[in-house]
């Protein structure tokens, strides 16, 4: 039994050391324009989903004063601040080459709840190109963004036109 335990704990010491050393010596891959093995991507993605779910668990979306207006306001914020990487409806984003790849939201939509999206935009996602936007958006703006994102891949008719009209009008007054 003693020898068994010795082997057990030696594994707990040797493996982490070996992993740290493997990367420290430079054997890890760093280039973002090549894909890591699919199992790595899937482990990381599920870790991110699970962590976001846990972190956002206590957050409640406030009932919107006017869901329609929030969606249009959020859409304008999205076109100004997010579409560059995440893509606009009918147009791919420019950042195709960071890894993990930037989800093209107008195409793929999202499975995150509004509270989870709020959390992600505010705090960012570590070790991705998603930075924390907490310093740049008010709470109201963050929630407006989530109202838009919730339906980004299936916008009700007319919403996109209203967003574009609002963006054009605001652009003209600036």
């Amino acid at each position: 039994m003693k020898t068994f335990l010795l082997g057990f704990f030696v594994a707990w010491f040797v493996l982490p050391t070996a992993v740290l050393a493997y990367f420290r010596v430079g054997f890890g891959d760093t280039q973002s324009d090549a894909n890591p093995p699919p199992w790595e991507t899937s482990v990381m993605q599920s870790a991110v989903h699970a962590s976001v779910r846990r972190s956002a668990a206590g957050i409640q979306a406030p009932p919107p004063e006017n869901i329609d207006e929030a969606m249009v306001a959020g859409g304008e914020l999205y076109l100004n601040g997010c579409a560059g990487c995440h893509g606009a409806p009918g147009k791919l984003g420019e950042d195709h080459s960071s890894y993990p790849r930037v989800p093209q939201l107008p195409q793929v939509g999202t499975q995150y709840s509004q509270a989870e999206m709020y959390w992600i935009i505010k705090h960012g996602i570590r070790n991705t190109a998603m930075s924390a936007y907490g310093p740049f958006y008010s709470d109201k703006e963050l929630w407006a963004l989530t109202s838009f994102l919730r339906q980004i891949d299936r916008l009700p008719p007319g919403v996109l036109e209203r967003i574009q009209a609002k963006k054009a009008a605001d652009g003209a007054t600036k």
Binding site: A11, F23, G26, Q31, A47, A50, S55, H96, Y99, A132
Partner: protein, 181 residues
């Protein structure tokens, strides 16, 4: 007196213990991730030891990957530094900071944070900077710029960034003049 066969039996027990330990460790790590216990917020501070290990690992990997003998085909001169500076001002300052300006607030909201090249300079060689700009760094905000820049522009950028914290005054003036236009 060691009874016959004891040594062999202990080796076996040790190996069984080692394999069991490895499996339990792997299950614990996967479980930890799968349960969402790893914090993924980009704006939460990470332990300094982790950051240091990661930055060293990235640099080690790049040293390891960049082909030996990869070299800037043209010699550096002031005109090329100014051209590289202009590219940098157009495309990199948003995250990496502009020379003579305060560091980028936006770059600080990533994890890992974007290095403030204009303020801190870099320890990377020209060839390494070229390679990073071209291929990006996985699991950071640094995307691969290879599809958007010609080889020549990548080298101009690498030359400029290599010298960014140590620019001759006439180059500084040249870049500001160009940027003003």
């Amino acid at each position: 007196m060691v009874p016959p066969g004891l040594e062999e039996r202990s080796v076996k027990k040790f190996v069984v213990g080692f394999v069991t330990g490895s499996l339990v460790l792997a299950v614990c790590v996967l479980g930890y991730l799968r349960l969402g216990l790893a914090n993924v917020a980009a704006d939460a501070p990470a332990p300094e030891s982790e950051t240091r290990w990661m930055l060293s690992s990235v640099h080690a990997s790049i040293r390891h990957t960049v082909p030996a003998g990869l070299k800037d085909p043209l010699p550096v001169d002031d005109a090329r530094l100014i051209a590289g500076g202009k590219l940098y001002l157009n495309d990199c300052v948003g995250c990496h900071g502009a020379p003579g300006k305060p560091p980028s607030n936006f770059g600080a909201t990533f994890y890992p944070p974007a290095p403030q090249l204009a303020r801190d300079g870099t320890q990377y060689s020209e060839a390494e900077i070229y390679w990073v700009a071209k291929h990006g760094i996985r699991r950071t905000g640094m995307s691969a710029q290879g599809p958007y820049y010609s080889e020549e522009k990548l080298w101009l950028l690498a030359e400029f960034i290599h010298d960014i914290s140590n620019l001759p005054p006439q180059v500084r003036a040249g870049i500001e003049e160009k940027a003003g236009k």
